[in-house]
């Protein structure tokens, strides 16, 4: 299977980096340096090229080096990406993206062609956090897995914002409300269908990983939509909730309130699993995400691991690196010390210090 492979990365005025070019290995890239030197910045830049958003939820201004007006991130992707060059320029004026030198129209196809998976300590919220963290996990995978997900997601967002505005306005405009219900139901049904499809494809991979990493039997993941069923069910739920929604001033039911559950030994991992088990769940969910994206996009996603070794114990680490060795993809790993990463051969080591990057 082909892979998403970054052959060259060129950064200008990005965070603490003035100007740097790196040529990564097609397999393993170990980025080491002391805390606070900017190792994660490198991963953030790569993830930006694939998803057009930061996994740190940073503001655009924070990504431009202090004192500079504009930042530029340029990546050349080889292997199945056939030398595609993607360039993002960001400044006060906004963002501009060019693909192969031409102004890009970023529809679902772009994200589908460049799948990337990030794994970082903050991912623990997938288990420990609220339903919104789990929806975000599904949504981010789906922007890459399904070409039409982005469009469905945006349309649903527009429909729900419109409906909520109507619900907050007095007197209530019943005609306007009715007009948006069907839009909400039709885009909502598409979202639920695609989320279900993703979870179904992830489930066996998740269960297998749970078994192998932690020996945790009877583990499963399941999508829990607030409203089961398709368009008709969502329509009648919206109609039935009009009084409640009007009183609350927002739409109470729909895929924006859905959840995803992880179970270990038949119990909800959020409430009943130990810290160690929760870390296993996140790792297994990420492994399932990679496998599912391989199937839906037909290529191995590029993998970004931000300081995960420090989060996992020895057994889980061993399992993770065993999995990575079997995966044919390109991997970037940050760590405080390169000796922590038990990978032989096929690796390039980068050392980060105050905005400069040295290759070993």
């Amino acid at each position: 299977m082909g892979r998403v492979q970054l052959d060259e990365l060129f950064l200008v005025e990005f965070r603490n980096i003035h100007r740097v070019t790196i040529e990564p290995s097609p397999r393993f890239n170990i980025v080491s340096g002391r805390n606070g030197t900017g190792k994660t910045n490198l991963l953030e830049a790569i993830y930006l090229l694939g998803s057009m958003r930061s996994f740190r939820q940073s503001r655009r201004v924070d990504m431009v080096r202090r004192g500079a007006k504009e930042t530029s991130i340029r990546g050349r992707f080889g292997n199945v990406c056939a030398g595609m060059v993607c360039e993002i320029k960001m400044g006060n004026e906004g963002r501009q993206v060019k693909i192969d030198g031409k102004r890009a129209h970023l529809d679902g196809r772009y994200f589908h062609s460049l799948p990337m998976v990030i794994f970082h300590p903050g991912n623990l919220t997938i288990v420990q956090g609220g339903p919104d963290a789990r929806r975000r996990f599904l949504d981010r995978a789906l922007f890459q897995a399904e070409i039409s997900y982005q469009e469905a997601y945006r349309s649903y967002g527009k429909a729900i914002a419109s409906r909520n505005r109507i619900l907050k306005t007095r007197p209530l405009d019943k005609r306007a409300l009715d007009s948006f219900d069907e839009q909400l139901a039709s885009h909502g049904a598409r979202i639920v269908m695609m989320r279900e499809r993703l979870v179904i494809s992830m489930t066996p991979l998740f269960e297998e990983a749970m078994e192998r990493i932690g020996g945790e039997g009877q583990s499963r993941m399941a999508y829990r939509p607030k409203i089961e069923g398709g368009f008709d069910k969502i329509m009648s739920a919206l109609r039935g909730a009009v009084e409640k929604d009007t009183a609350m001033g927002y739409t109470t039911a729909g895929p924006h309130a859905d959840d995803l559950v992880f179970e270990v030994n038949g119990l909800d991992a959020r409430k009943f699993a130990s810290q160690g088990q929760q870390r296993t769940v996140v790792l297994a969910a990420k492994i399932a995400e990679i496998g599912s994206l391989e199937k839906s996009t037909g290529r191995t996603p590029l993998l970004l691991l931000d300081d995960v070794s420090s989060e996992l114990d020895r057994d889980r680490n061993r399992h993770l690196f065993g999995f990575l060795a079997g995966l044919g993809g390109q991997v970037f790993i940050t760590t405080t010390h390169h000796d922590h990463i038990p990978i032989e051969g096929d690796r390039v080591d980068f050392f980060v210090e105050n905005g400069s990057i040295e290759v070993n």
């Binding site: 039409s148 349309s155 429909a159 419109s162 405009d173 306007a176 009715d178 948006f180 885009h187």
Partner: protein, 197 residues
């Protein structure tokens, strides 16, 4: 040093798509032409508002009320095409194949911009349909969340009016390649496929 040239340039620069530089260039161009042109231009602008009427039947904008389309007895009064704006009406007119009448909404249902059902000419349409020989209403609002919501609003307001309601087809533009068509458009084109006759 404000003067006639600067005054006019500033007024022109307030038009959409016209910047300060273009405005200045236009003024100097006008100075080079003879005064017949500038007089005609000036009086056309000066009388624009008083000459233009909104059609009390279909809300189209023209020199007369009823508008030339509503006034044209050769057009099919049994067919009404509902459009979002006058430019959309013109676009359909320029295709030359539509011989029915129109109804202009002057907007779409946009709660986020404070546009509600009462701000559109939906009730005017409903009265019109109920009090005339209309047989079919074609809804030609755009295929977006707000365009579809507006289409539904029209559907609801025409419930019981005994009229055949249709939605403009969506799909692949004429002569274009499927390969370069966005996925949503293709979804719709497949969903809305029709029998080959």
């Amino acid at each position: 040093m404000a003067g006639a040239i600067q005054d006019l340039a500033e007024l022109l620069a307030r038009l959409p798509g016209v910047g300060r530089r273009t405005a200045t260039r236009l003024v100097f161009h006008m100075l080079k032409t003879n005064s017949d042109y500038t007089n005609a231009l000036g009086s056309s602008i000066a009388t624009l508002h008083e000459k233009i009427r909104r059609c009390s039947t279909c809300a189209n904008i023209s020199d007369s009320d009823p508008c030339p389309i509503c006034d044209d007895a050769t057009r099919d009064a049994r067919l009404i095409c509902v459009v979002e704006s006058v430019p959309d009406l013109w676009a359909i007119e320029s295709s030359g194949s539509y011989r029915g009448r129109f109804h202009v909404l002057h907007g779409l249902l946009k709660p986020l911009d404070g546009v509600g059902p009462d701000d559109l000419n939906v009730d005017l349409l409903s009265d019109r349909v109920r009090n005339s020989e209309v047989e079919e209403v074609i809804v030609a609002t755009r295929q977006s969340v707000e365009g579809e919501a507006t289409a539904l609003l029209i559907k609801h307001s025409l419930t019981g009016a005994g009229v055949h309601l249709t939605r403009i087809a969506s799909g692949v533009p004429h002569g274009s390649e499927l390969e370069y068509t966005d996925s949503r458009t293709l979804d719709r084109a497949i969903d809305d496929r029709r029998e080959m006759k």
